[in-house]
């Protein structure tokens, strides 16, 4: 338990540090949201509105430390304030429109990519020099070299626009009532195919390569020699002895990737008009929507921390050695 508590302590510290950074960075940027808001009307609003807007946004000239304490206090109470860009809707509501979809799309894509890539890596390492290793690995590496938003564009162009096999945009069809009905789930799946595939294709090679390399190292160990010497069936040696041991570094990377995708999928979301947090973030930055930005940062950061913590626990379960420090 000590180990778990220690990790938890680190994550709390990291959370605090990133929250502080979240507070500082937006405030370093020039300009203020009222003028930004004003500007979005491109001349259809009178200059007097600016004064009114400033009043409405409640700009305080309070010293930074006071603002900071208020900021922390609000966060602790789950109050992220009102979004400027979607004024006067609360940030939580705005984030709520996208979070689940991003987590769903990016989460599924990363999990699939990780699972498939890792499996391919295991097989490639097991059959060194086989077609998987010598042909598929370079192909995947080549596909992985494409920017994934570009793959998304191409997929959209080919399968959505050109062939019409998949919807061009959105997470579900507008005429379906969201719910746990078969029709809706099928529709949702159809919508997720292209965006998820573009992420999977772009990241598959990385997982495969890293798993293959760790696996190759494991294959050279005495653990594997012993397993072979014991006359264990090949499949058992491959999965239970080699893959289990090679999995750990990949799992650690998986924690990192989960967090990365939560923010990194934003390009894909934009290409496919997927109602995720990615576009919200761009919108928040363009409008200098501090509360929304901070809210998104908070959510993304906490998600990353939680994912890493979960991965720590997973490692604890996967690797008894870490339990020694527990």
């Amino acid at each position: 338990m000590h180990y778990v508590l220690r990790r938890l302590g680190f994550y709390l510290l990291a959370a605090w540090a990133s929250l502080t950074m979240n507070f500082v960075i937006p405030r370093l940027t020039p300009g203020d949201p009222a003028t930004a808001m004003f500007a979005r009307f491109e001349g259809r609003l009178s200059p007097d509105a600016l004064v009114a807007l400033r009043a409405a946004f409640g700009f305080t000239e309070a010293p930074w430390h006071v603002q900071y304490l208020t900021y922390l206090k609000h966060l602790l109470t789950g109050d992220m304030g009102l979004s400027y860009a979607y004024y006067p809707s609360p940030v939580t509501e705005v984030i709520g429109t996208g979070l689940l979809w991003t987590v769903g799309l990016a989460g599924c894509a990363v999990v699939i990519s990780f699972a498939v890539g890792t499996t391919l890596g295991v097989l490639a390492a097991w059959n060194r020099g086989g077609w998987l290793d010598s042909a598929l690995a370079p192909v995947l590496a080549f596909l992985g070299a494409f920017p994934y938003f570009w793959l998304a564009m191409l997929a959209l162009y080919l399968f959505g626009f050109g062939l019409g096999w998949f919807p061009l945009r959105h997470a579900y069809s507008h005429d379906l009532e969201p719910g746990l009905t078969l029709a809706f789930l099928a529709d949702m799946g159809r919508h997720a195919v292209l965006p998820a595939t573009s992420i999977v294709v772009a990241t598959l090679g990385g997982w495969m390569l890293s798993m293959r390399n760790t696996m190759v190292a494991v294959l050279g160990t005495d653990t594997l020699r012993l397993a072979h010497a014991k006359g264990l069936p090949a499949r058992q040696v491959m999965w239970r002895y080699a893959a289990r041991n090679a999995l750990l570094p990949n799992v650690t990377g998986f924690g990192m990737a989960l967090g990365f995708v939560l923010s990194g999928s934003l390009l894909t979301e934009i290409v496919f008009s997927y109602p995720g947090t990615g576009y919200l973030l761009i919108l928040a930055v363009r409008n200098q929507d501090y509360p929304l930005m901070q809210g998104l940062f908070l959510v993304i950061t906490l998600a990353v921390l939680a994912a890493n913590f979960a991965v720590d626990l997973l490692c604890l379960w996967l690797d008894p050695r870490t339990r020694a420090h527990a």
Partner: protein, 587 residues
């Protein structure tokens, strides 16, 4: 260094990667002089590829080819600059943290970890908003958002190097911190620096293109990212003008691919295990046909056995026409120095040779069965049930992620010696007790045991299927003498009870003489002498045996005097192949 680069270029991966990259570099440097002005509106918008515009025109009527070629320049320039900067910052922070340790390390590591969990892309976006536009902004933003990962890698590398003796040796020699970092640590990180630089460049190109695609770069410049940005803005999709974004995407992918190839080539260079192992040599008929038949009554008969490795320099013979026999219940010792082929010989009895090695000549007969001719399935059944093995490094040979009971169960189940998991565990408890361990340890994980205990587990495991022969490959080398003796006493006791034979492999001749019935001396793959322990101790004939005997200081009696000079010369004159560098060869 130059040697390393030469070896790198010999690799096909590196050669392909380097030539693609070089091609793009040349394109970026020279290309812009040969194409039209990429910003000039030369033709009609959205024109498909034609003679006038080889790759068509953009939504504004600019030449796509010109944009692609000119775009390479800034994209690659920023990519390489950021790659270098991120590597530099990461290396500086990481090496400082790793080398100085303590407080500095704590602070820097915490900072690094915090940066690692803060999502990079949003960070870059926000930072980009603060800085004035231009290529410099991209460089600063990407460096700021990307250094942490590198710092982490460099820190762990610095940590592992710092623990290496040559750093301590440099300290003892009186070198300064700065000199140790620059002349001792950094040169050893050359390959890490190179692969980090390449990886970071890959990151920089990708992130830069992504940011520019979002319109967060300098959209006035001509780069690959802005090309894609304009492709989106100029309705490439709507007008079905695939030629606007496809060439740029392909270029990015090719550059990325070449970088991936290079980095994987560097990985393979530094970690030979990643390279495809050379093909094992084919078996050859003996030059002079000999009658290969097992000795009657022998448990194991090795006949004219030769094992060869494929190495870069060609074939190397690790075991050279060795013949020996082991009687039931006998302990045969096999002594030799590193590279003498003793472990290779031991593994060959179970056909456990590394991929690059193969039995090229001779036979191994076990109870009259030719082991070298067994089918894969028969071999699997043969292993462990007839001959089992104890490794030198039971510490690392046990599967760290399975409790001991599982590892026993796997073994028993693989040979259909168990009805259920419960039965396996019961048998495991029995076996553990047999080697003097507490039966409760069946639920323990390997890391919870000391080295001596793990070696006992190794022996218990070797006994699980009641084999007739156990190959013990330096089972006590890593142990303290007291533990060694406890263990060996237990082994001898079990042997007396269960009647198995042992092939005991070690470099420790005195130990062997005390333990074995007969001892064979291996030198450079050849069995130079086999005799009873008693006789060897007093009247060893081969000079090499005598050299070995004299190498060990003795406690009680006076030391054995070194052999006379001529004998020594004769002993070492035998060509010693450079086997130390072989995979599987031990130092």
């Amino acid at each position: 260094m130059r040697d390393a680069i030469r070896r790198l270029l010999r690799q096909r991966k590196a050669a392909v990667g380097a030539s693609i990259l070089l091609g793009f570099l040349v394109l970026a440097l020279v290309g812009p002089f040969f194409v039209q002005d990429p910003t000039e509106l030369l033709g009609q918008p959205h024109q498909p590829p034609s003679g006038a515009h080889l790759l068509g025109t953009t939504g504004q009527g600019q030449d796509v080819l010109a944009q692609t070629v000119v775009g390479a320049r800034e994209t690659l320039a920023i990519g390489f600059t950021v790659g270098a900067l991120v590597t530099l910052v990461g290396a500086l922070v990481g090496v400082t943290a790793g080398y100085l340790g303590r407080r500095v390390d704590d602070a820097l590591t915490l900072t690094t970890n915090v940066f690692l969990v803060i999502p990079g892309l949003p960070l870059a976006i926000v930072l980009g908003a603060y800085l004035p536009s231009g290529p410099l902004r991209m460089v600063v933003v990407l460096t700021f958002a990307g250094w942490a990962w590198n710092a982490r890698i460099f820190r762990s590398e610095a940590l592992s190097l710092r623990g290496r003796d040559f750093v301590a040796a440099a300290v003892v020699a009186g070198e300064s911190h700065a000199r140790i970092i620059t002349r001792e640590l950094l040169p050893n990180m050359a390959s890490l620096v190179a692969s980090s630089f390449i990886g970071n460049t890959l990151y920089a190109v990708g992130a830069q293109v992504g940011l520019e695609f979002l319109g967060l770069g300098d959209v006035g410049a001509v780069t690959w990212g802005t090309n894609l940005y304009w492709a989106g803005n100029d309705a490439a999709l709507l007008t079905r003008s695939w030629w606007i974004f496809v060439p740029t995407g392909l270029c990015i992918a090719l550059v990325g691919f070449s970088l991936t190839l290079l980095s994987s080539a560097i990985d393979e260079l530094t970690n030979p295990a990643l390279r495809l192992p050379p093909r094992a040599p084919e078996a050859r008929p003996a030059a002079t046909p000999v009658h290969l038949a097992p000795e009657a009554g022998a448990l194991l008969s090795v006949r004219e056995l030769s094992i060869e490795f494929t190495t870069e320099g060609g074939l190397t013979r690790a075991v050279d026409q060795v013949s020996l026999d082991i009687a039931p219940g006998e302990i045969l010792g096999l002594a030799g120095e590193s590279g003498s082929g003793k472990s290779t010989l031991g593994s060959a009895l179970l056909r456990l040779l590394p991929p690059a090695a193969a039995i090229t000549q001779g036979r191994v007969f076990f109870e009259g069965v030719d082991v070298t001719a067994l089918s894969p399935e028969a071999l699997r059944a043969f292993r462990w049930s007839r001959v089992s093995m104890v490794f030198q490094s039971a510490m690392s040979a046990l599967n760290p992620v399975l409790p001991l009971g599982e590892q026993f169960h796997d073994t028993l189940a693989a040979h259909d010696r168990t009805g259920s998991r419960a039965a396996s565990y019961a048998r495991a408890r029995e076996l553990l007790a047999m080697v003097g361990l507490k039966p409760e340890l069946v639920d323990a994980w390997p890391h919870q045991l000391s080295g001596g205990m793990r070696q006992r587990v190794g022996i218990a495991l070797a006994l699980a299927l009641e084999p007739r022969l156990i190959v013990m490959d330096e089972p006590t080398t890593a142990l303290d003498v007291v533990v060694q003796k406890e263990l060996l006493q237990r082994v001898v006791e079990l042997k007396a009870r269960l009647g198995f034979a042992i092939l005991f492999i070690t470099h420790d001749l005195p130990l062997l003489l005390a333990l074995a019935d007969r001892v064979g001396i291996l030198q450079a793959g050849k069995l130079v002498e086999v005799d009873t322990a008693q006789r060897l101790r007093t009247e060893a004939r081969h000079p090499y045996t005598r050299l070995l005997l004299s190498s060990f200081p003795h406690l009680g009696a006076d030391d054995v005097p070194p052999p006379a000079a001529d004998v020594l010369e004769q002993a070492t004159a035998t060509n010693k192949p450079g086997l130390a560098a072989l995979p599987g060869g031990r130092r």
